[in-house]
Point group: C2
Chain length 233, copies 2
C-alpha cells in the first residue's frame, strides 16, 4: 500500500469507524477499469463486479430505511423517494462528501479527461465501496455507514421535494416522536363543477394550518403546505 | 385464520421449513389491494409495501448468489443474468411452483378477470412474500428459501440462454469442482479481411472441443458450443 492509501485507511477508521479485514477488497473498490487497462502486468481487478453487488446492497438498505421510517407512505411514493436517493448525482455527491474522489485509481486518459469529477464514475465508486464493505463485514456494517452518510440527508429533508406536502408535514412533525395529525373539512361551497373546499390540519388537536382547493385532497395539500410554511418561520 | 390459511401455513412448514413468528406479515403478503378495497370495514393492509421491500431483498440475494457463483463473469453479464432471473414471468413461475397462487386473497372483480393467473400479480406476490419473510426472520432465512426455490433453477441451466457458450461451458464443467479451462489458437489462415481462426478448448489438459470463426473470440465461442454439444450427448 502506498502513502495515499494509508491516509485513506486512516480516514475511514477515524470518520466512519471502518477497518477492512481484507484490504484487497477496498483496493479493488477503488480501482477503475482504466487503471487496470494501463497496468496489465499487475493482474488487477477493477471495481465493476463490486459495483454490481453494492448497487443491490444499497437498494435493500435504502428500501428498508424508507419502509420503517414512513410506515404510512404507499408503495408508489416509497419507490419515488428511493429513486431520488440512489440516483447518480445523489450517490456521486455522497462519494465526494466521503472524500472518495481523492483516492480512486484512474488511468491517465481517464484522469486527463476529468474522470475524477464525473458523476457516473463517482456513483459507481460509491456503490463498489458498499459492495466491498458488504463482502468484508456483512449487511449491518453497510447499514451503519449509510446511517452516517446517507440517511441523515433524508432526515434533514434533502429529498423532501419528492414528497407531497402532507407526507412532508408528517415527516417533519414526527421527527420528535409520534404525533396524531388529522385533517378536518370545515366548509364547502359552490355548484358541483366549481366547488371549493376548506380544510384545517391539526397536530395532536392543535390547529396548525388552513387550506382551500377544488377537491378535498387539494385543500388538504394546501393546508399542509401552509402548516409547513408557518413551522419554518 | 381460516382453513385455507392453515393449510398454507402447514405447507410452508413442510415444504420450506418456514414458520412465521408474526403471522400478520404473512397474511398481509397474501392480501391484494382489490381484497382490501372490498373489505374496507376490516382495516386491512395490502401487500404493496411488502413488495417494495421484497423486490430489493430479492435483488440483493440474487446478486450475491451470482457474484459468488461466477467469479470470472464481468459485471455486464451478471446484470443480464440477474435481469433474467428477477423478471416478471420468472418470478410468477416461482410463485406458482410454491402454490402461492392458491392462497392470495383477491377481490371479486380481480378474481373474475383472471387475476389469480396473471403474471404481474403473481410476481408481486412472490416479492411481497420475500419482504414479509425478511421482516419476520432476517436476510438469511430468505436466502435459504431462495436456495430451495430459485437458485437450483440457475444450477440446472434454466437461465443459461442468457449466457454465452464459454460462460455456460465454464458453469457446466465447474459444477463438480474447480477445473482449468483453456482455449488454444491452433491455426489462422487467409487475408486480413477474411481471415479464419481455428481454436481448441481443453479442460484440465484434455481436448473437449474444436471450433472456428472469423475472429479468435468467435472461434472460441464455437469451440465452447461444440464442447457443450458433446458433453450433452
Amino acid at each position: 500500500m502506498d502513502e495515499m492509501d494509508n491516509q485513506f485507511v486512516t480516514s475511514l477508521k477515524e470518520n466512519y469507524q471502518i477497518v477492512f479485514q481484507e484490504i484487497g477488497l477496498l483496493e479493488q473498490a477503488f480501482t477503475h477499469s482504466s487503471y487496470v487497462n494501463e497496468h496489465r502486468n499487475m493482474a488487477l481487478s477493477d471495481n465493476e463486479r463490486l459495483e454490481f453487488l453494492g448497487d443491490a446492497v444499497l437498494e435493500l438498505l435504502v428500501s428498508q430505511y424508507l419502509y420503517r421510517k414512513f410506515p404510512e407512505i404507499p408503495e408508489g411514493k416509497l419507490t419515488k423517494l428511493r429513486a431520488s436517493m440512489v440516483r447518480e448525482d445523489s450517490l456521486a455527491e455522497f462519494a465526494r462528501e466521503c472524500g472518495f474522489d481523492q483516492y480512486i485509481r484512474l488511468g491517465k486518459g481517464e484522469e486527463n479527461s476529468g474522470g475524477r469529477q464525473r458523476n457516473s464514475l463517482l456513483c459507481d465508486l460509491f456503490e463498489s465501496f458498499l459492495g466491498a464493505l458488504y463482502l468484508d463485514q456483512e449487511l449491518e456494517a453497510v447499514n451503519q455507514f449509510l446511517k452516517k452518510v446517507v440517511f441523515p440527508k433524508v432526515d434533514a429533508g434533502a429529498f423532501s421535494h419528492e414528497m407531497d406536502h402532507k407526507t412532508k408535514l408528517q415527516e417533519v412533525l414526527q421527527r420528535a416522536g409520534d404525533v396524531f395529525i388529522d385533517y378536518r373539512l370545515t366548509n364547502e361551497e359552490g355548484p358541483a363543477h366549481e366547488r371549493v373546499f376548506w380544510t384545517e390540519v391539526y397536530c395532536d388537536g392543535q390547529l396548525i394550518g388552513r387550506g382551500q382547493g377544488k377537491s378535498k385532497k387539494a385543500a388538504e395539500q394546501d393546508a399542509a403546505a401552509n402548516a409547513l410554511r408557518q413551522l419554518n418561520e
